[in-house]
């Protein structure tokens, strides 16, 4: 380069060179023969050759790849004397053959003092990197645009929330530069209002909350810290709303600060929270008002909380339960009873257990009900049922007592037929005995076979014994455990019982038993009592009827897991007023006074989880009494 300056032929280049010495721009000068006259270091680096290697050599020799492209340009500049500016060239060089470079080139004519074009000055600017960064910028711009669109998409769809960006320039003031569409659901204002009038939002904040909000915001801007603040807004329509503003603050150029974030309408959340607090308060109030012990346990059987009504109803003070396992605080037999219940509730079910507990020598009966309570917790409500069990027991006893009394009374009603029933075998016994005696003493015309007579006597005696046994079971007062009963069999037993009564009253009994009757679980004698009572009522109702019309039908059937037993008479039927009050106590529909019996029937059937009712027959002749009993559960 200094050689060219020394030659003094191209002073302009030397000037340029001094100007651009440190600038990464390639410079060169060629003469009219397109031979390099001068080259700066930068261009020599582009071309991959030392500076000295250029002098006196042609373009074609130095940059053969580009020669076809650039020679015409140089010739045009030499011919026309006009510069060609901002020519973009693509290609690779010897120095860097695998990279396609981009250059921006300016070609200007070099003139002598007479103004003749003697060469061409060239400025070459390698823009390869800049171009890459322009592409990256484009990509980044596109990505930014996408991100903004994404924010728009998200922001516009947020329920009860809005996104925002606020610019705080260095010299004070601020503007919303972007908001998502959902501003109305948070501030009651349109996006346009907020963008146009930056103070619109702050004006909405209720007076009591505004200073605190503004202070907090100023502090966040000053310290560039995250802002998180909840305040109340008064919407243009006058309604009051809670909102929570949460934003990040970051500095940008020029000392400005951008605050970006989200504003959420928390009115619903706060109301829900208040409702939750209220419901918890209510729960506590209910629990404290319950006449029960309430325990909260985890699913392993550990006590989490205990609410006794009074601590003396507990085995130990409440605080000694908490954190302990059932196995640690309950007697072993009780723990063994309760643990399966816990497991059942832990599995999503509910459970109930009845058990006695002795505290200070006083044994009381408890009933525990357990239900799932939220996730992994069990609520156990334990009730002292001693009194109600006692009352229940007393009522049961009274019911059994009354049933017994009515049963005995009912037997009194049919004394005549019972005597008749017993008199038959007795007559056979007495008569056969007399025949035998006279046969043995020769006091007869034709002696009979005494052996055969004695056999008859034994048979009749057995029969009398059966009748007595049957009667005796009727006088049983004690409660016996329910048995699995075939109601057809019970009907046949009652038929035997009624055998003489039917004959004396001249009533025909027709049995219509369902052929495959499932068993029921019941007290045999009590069900016999109900049937006998209904049958006697039916017979009584037909008393005035001609003998031929006196037909009593007892039928059994199965309807929806219930066995139905119907006792149908052909009597006078029931008046409408009677139908309603039939099973009320001490109503007698007939003179002989078995009325109390229906009340007993009702209590017996109810105690067996059954139902009882009466209807008049459709054909205007008589009534039908029906009782039902649930089919017994399958035997395991």
């Amino acid at each position: 380069m200094h050689r060219a300056a020394e030659r003094g032929r191209l002073p302009a280049v030397a000037e340029l060179e001094s100007i651009y010495a440190t600038v990464p721009v390639g410079l060169c000068c060629v003469d009219r023969d397109l031979r390099y006259v001068s080259v700066n270091e930068q261009l020599a680096r582009y071309n991959g050759l030392p500076i000295e290697a250029h002098f006196g050599r042609t373009l074609r020799e130095i940059v053969p790849h580009l020669a076809d492209t650039i020679e015409p340009i140089y010739r045009r500049v030499l011919d026309t004397g006009r510069p060609e500016l901002n020519v973009e060239l693509f290609g690779s060089t010897e120095a860097d053959p695998h990279v396609v470079h981009t250059w921006i080139c300016n070609y200007s004519p070099l003139r002598d003092e007479q103004g003749r074009v003697i060469g061409v000055n060239t400025v070459v600017h390698d823009t390869t990197d800049r171009r890459a960064s322009a592409v990256a910028l484009d990509d980044a711009t596109a990505a930014l645009r996408q991100r903004d669109e994404f924010l728009d998409v998200i922001g516009d769809r947020l329920p009860e929330a809005m996104l925002f960006r606020v610019l705080h320039p260095r010299d004070g003031g601020y503007t919303f530069t972007w908001v998502s569409k959902g501003t109305a659901a948070v501030t009651g204002l349109s996006p346009e209002t907020i963008l146009r009038d930056p103070d619109a939002f702050a004006r909405q904040i209720v007076d009591e909350d505004r200073p605190r909000f503004l202070d907090a915001m100023a502090s966040a801007l000053r310290t560039l810290s995250t802002f998180d603040h909840t305040c109340r807004l008064r919407w243009p329509d006058g309604s009051l709303h809670w909102c929570r503003v949460r934003s990040a603050v970051r500095p940008i150029d020029n000392g400005a600060v951008v605050c970006e974030g989200v504003i959420i309408n928390t009115t619903g959340l706060i109301e829900a929270e208040e409702a939750l607090v209220e419901s918890q308060d209510r729960y506590r109030a209910i629990v404290s008002a319950l006449p029960d012990l309430t325990f909260l346990l985890d699913t392993s059987g550990r006590y989490l909380d205990v609410h006794p009504r009074e601590s003396r109803s507990l085995l130990m003070p409440p605080d000694r339960f908490i954190g302990k396992h059932i196995n640690e605080v309950m007697p072993p037999d009780l723990a063994a009873l309760l643990m399966p219940c816990i497991e059942q509730v832990a599995g999503g079910g509910t459970a109930q257990a009845d058990y006695p507990v002795t505290i200070n020598g006083d044994t009381r009966q408890y009933e525990a009900r357990m239900v799932p309570c939220g996730a992994n917790k069990i609520l156990a409500v334990v009730r002292d049922v001693t009194e109600s069990k006692r009352a229940q027991h007393d009522a049961e006893r009274a019911r059994l007592e009354l049933a017994h009394v009515t049963r005995v009374t009912m037997l009194g009603e049919i004394t005549a037929s019972l005597a008749h029933e017993l008199n038959q075998p007795l007559t056979a016994i007495v008569t056969n005995a007399q025949t035998a005696r006279r046969s043995l003493s020769g006091d007869v015309v034709r002696p009979m076979d005494v052996g055969a007579l004695i056999e008859e006597i034994a048979g009749a005696g057995q029969r009398a014994g059966d009748i007595i046994r049957r009667l005796r079971s009727w006088f049983v007062r004690e409660r016996v455990p329910p048995q699995r009963l075939d109601l057809n069999e019970v009907v046949r037993e009652v038929e035997r019982f009624l055998h003489s009564e039917l004959i004396i009253r001249q009533v025909r009994l027709k049995l219509a038993g369902h052929r495959h009757l499932p068993p029921v679980l019941a007290d045999r004698v009590q069900i016999q009592q109900v049937l006998l009572n209904l049958a006697l009522n039916g017979m009584e109702a037909m008393h005035e009827r001609p003998v031929k019309e006196r037909l009593l039908t007892i039928s059994t059937s199965v309807v929806d897991r219930e066995v139905h037993v119907a006792v149908r008479d052909r009597g006078t039927g029931l008046a409408a007023a009677q139908l309603d009050r039939l099973f009320e106590p001490f109503l007698s529909t007939k003179p002989s006074g078995l009325g109390v019996g229906l009340r007993i029937c009702s209590s017996i059937i109810t105690a067996h989880d059954g139902r009882i009712w009466a209807t008049n027959n459709d054909d205007d002749a008589g009534a039908t009494f029906v009782f039902t009993l649930p089919v017994a559960p399958d035997r395991r």
Binding site: H420, Q424, T427, A428, N432, M448, R463
Partner: protein, 129 residues
Amino acid sequence: MTGHVVCVIDDDVSVLKAVSRLLTALGYTVRSFRSAQQFLDRSTQDDAELGCLVLDVHMPGMSGLELQEELARTDRDLPIVFVTGAGDATLRQRAFANGAVDFLEKPFTDAALERAVSHALSCRAERFA
């Protein structure tokens, strides 16, 4: 010999057999029937052998008293000894009003039955005479 057969009618088989055996032992010719209807079905109006009835009051279907009324309605004049397992004054009065010879309550003695049947047969003999 006319009018010597004793007809025993009772729905209770053991009683029917016992009474029939006793009367047979005592020398009577006995026919047994399990119901009033069976008697009506198996005896004929002009059967001169029939002497009297030993008739149970309470039987399913036609009762003893109804049979008595039926026989009266058809002019069959057979003396009747009623036996009953359930004494009832009204029925007793009704039976006698309709011409019963006797009305025995179960269980009865052999002597009472023998006396009643003997009396009934003599009544029958008188009516034939």
